[in-house]
């Protein structure tokens, strides 16, 4: 999503852009409308059985290099997500300049990359971080000099209008419910397990409130939710917590809610929170990652991980104080409008990363 939005907003004139993807996906067609795309495949799993790797890797490597053989004169390679650094050695010639856009926090970088991949990443000429948490991680944990890091706040597409909420029936919620929304893929890092516990805790603390907790981004039969579904059953919370499929109109879906919550164990800067802010919802998150810049001081509440009781304190306060809730949502929206516009991000990215590139080479040259 980040790459797609960036390419849409960037001034691409004078640039020849080739996208190298480790795998395809639902956004592939959208990306192909904007640039030439080559899907080369994921690196071989280093945990796989050694005989299989030895047998398979040379052939895969040859195929990858053949796919990229013409990219011999690359002026700039942009690595989008630290994991994508794995594709760099497959270029026939190292790029003249390397910029890495890092979205991951510690677990996504130092824990996931092996030493050669981490060294390749750290050899980048510049780094782009979308939030202070990633910039801090790069400087403090990975030792990247601050002058090589550009902090360019993340953004989402905006047109200045307020979204029209969807009918709550689309979220399987009643009109009189106090509707708490999350939006994320349902993996362990995003913690649907804690979302279910949060709902149960809220119900225990205030049984009089008509709570409805909805997680947008997963179907009920998603295998990643097996444990959360069982927990929900154990807690007799089948009506309280529901999982709702992903929607392309996320902002209008979020606008139907009363509050947005993120129970992620770790999250650099979830763009869903920006969408929720633009939908006018107050934000409730754990104080980890970079989302605090959007939430604080008046756009919602940050609580220490994994303090669900404090999260419920905030939800109860917003339930009991609708004007306060509206004010917090309004503050979040204003901050999102001011600081997290994708067009602004693209302009800053252009200045920091592409500056001078167009002037150096004639239009149509590789980028």
């Amino acid at each position: 999503m980040y790459l797609l939005q960036l390419l849409r907003d960037l001034d691409r004139s004078g640039l020849r852009i080739t996208i190298v993807l480790l795998r395809g996906g639902e956004l592939l067609a959208d990306l192909q409308e904007l640039a030439e795309v080559r899907v080369v495949g994921e690196p071989v799993d280093s945990a796989a059985a050694l005989p299989g790797r030895l047998a398979e890797e040379p052939a895969r490597l040859r195929a990858r290099r053949a796919q990229l053989a013409d990219l011999r004169d690359v002026d700039l390679a942009i690595v989008n997500t630290a994991w994508s650094i794995h594709a760099l050695p497959w270029l026939p010639v190292p790029p003249a300049r390397l910029v890495s856009v890092v979205h991951e926090l510690g677990a996504g970088v130092a824990d996931l990359l092996d030493r050669p991949a981490l060294d390749a990443l750290l050899a980048s000429d510049r780094f782009v971080a979308g939030c202070g948490a990633v910039a801090g991680m790069l400087a403090d944990d990975l030792g990247v000099p601050a002058e090589r890091i550009d902090l360019i706040p993340y953004g989402v597409a905006q047109d200045g209008s307020d979204p029209v909420p969807v009918d709550r029936t689309q979220l399987d919620a009643d009109d009189d419910a106090f509707l708490v929304l999350a939006a994320a893929v349902p993996d362990r890092r995003k913690a649907p397990d804690l979302f279910v516990h949060l709902a149960a805790t809220a119900r225990r603390r205030r049984p009089d409130v008509p709570w409805a907790f909805r997680w947008i981004g997963a179907t009920e039969d998603d295998p990643r939710l097996a444990d959360a579904r069982t927990d929900r059953a154990l807690l007799d919370a089948g009506d309280l917590v529901r999982f709702v499929p992903p929607t392309p109109a996320l902002r209008t879906a979020l606008a139907a809610g009363d509050a947005f919550v993120l129970t992620s164990r770790q999250d650099a800067f979830p763009l869903a929170a920006v969408e929720a802010a633009l939908a006018g919802l107050p934000l409730l998150c754990f104080a980890s990652g970079g989302i605090g810049a959007l939430v604080e001081p008046d756009g919602g509440r940050l609580v220490p991980f994994p303090d669900l009781e404090s999260m419920v304190d905030a939800l109860v306060a917003w339930h009991d104080d609708p004007p306060g809730r509206t004010a917090a949502g309004g503050a979040a929206r204003e901050r999102a409008r001011r600081h997290h516009d994708a067009a602004d991000h693209a302009r800053a990215f252009d200045r920091a990363v592409l500056g001078g590139l167009r002037g150096d080479r004639p239009a149509g040259a590789p980028a």
Binding site: T230, A233, L234, P304, L308
Partner: protein, 405 residues
Amino acid sequence: MHGDEGDGPVTRPHVVLLGHGAERTGPPILLAHLVRGLAAGGRYDLSVLTARSGPMLAEYEAAPARALAVSAAREPLGRTAAALRQVGAGSAVGPLQDARRRQVARRLAPADLVYVNGATPPTADLLRALDPPPTTPVVVHVHELDVGLRINLGDEQRRDLFDRADRIVAASGAVARLLVDGHGLAPERITTCAEFVDVAALQPLPPDEARAAAGIPAGAPVIGGVGLLDWRKDPDHLLRAVHALRRSDPDLDPWVLWVGGDPDSDDGRRTAAEARRLGLEDRFRHVGHQDHPDRLLGAMDVFALPSREDALPLAALEAAATGLPLVCFRAGGIADLCDLGAGTTVEYPDTAAFARALADLLADPEARARVGSAARALVRAEHDTGVGVARIAAVIDAGLEGGRR
């Protein structure tokens, strides 16, 4: 009555006990206690048939009982099954595995009574393969709660077990309540025979020796747990509770000791990551599987059971037997023991209340001693092997005398 195959008639009834596996986990360990106890009386010929092999087979044989396993792998004919599935012939796997189960089951003499240890998919498959005559009584010992009975068991397997069972043994009051209220079984078919442990065999190390063995400083306060690292046992929840405790009562500064599971498994890495995220990496010791986990109970001041649900875990009974006070969620049979004075129970998933219960016990040595003493007395009175085996033997005898219901 039958004895060994081909050895001529004997007078002792032949009891065939079915188990899902022979690893060192709760139900197989309890089966070993039971087989030893039944064998000691000399009134039965005993055979054990398990779906999977494992170290407990040797203990069954030593009881003595004849012990057989269908497969050393997780499922019968594991490689063949995988290959068939790979070539799109998965439908052939079930019949082939059933044939293998029947082949092994035929090596046993006809049973006078079949005792099914656990309501699980493997034990349901074994009972179907054994296919005892309609006149042979069947006892099903249920150690499972909602996750096991409703989610792990298929509808057909559940029917196979419960419809065929003449008598049902519930491993705790919580299991009995679930069978009646949740599955509509008649109360008169159910006998609650609480799980039991071999109290005399428990040998906790002296506290600081045990702490040293776990890499914990002498005298440090320790909250401990024993069990696998799976989602149902939920050691991560204990870590979150201890994190909350350290925020509310920083002076207590407890260590967390978890015994069991594999630190190098996916679950082990997940739990270690949770500890890091919570800033507990310096206070968390995961020592992994131990053949004698009771020794490390000596390191603990309080035993925590963070399970989402657990019928009546032997690890908690062993901890109570050594005088440790318990803290658990109201999610299984240990809650009943706590209600009798063995510890504190809080509602699932109230992490803050769990943390408070731990803190209250850690901060009050007298309360720990008082509750621990009550826990020890309760287990010795109600959950020692002698008591437990006698209860189950009574059910077996009633089955042998009464035949089918």
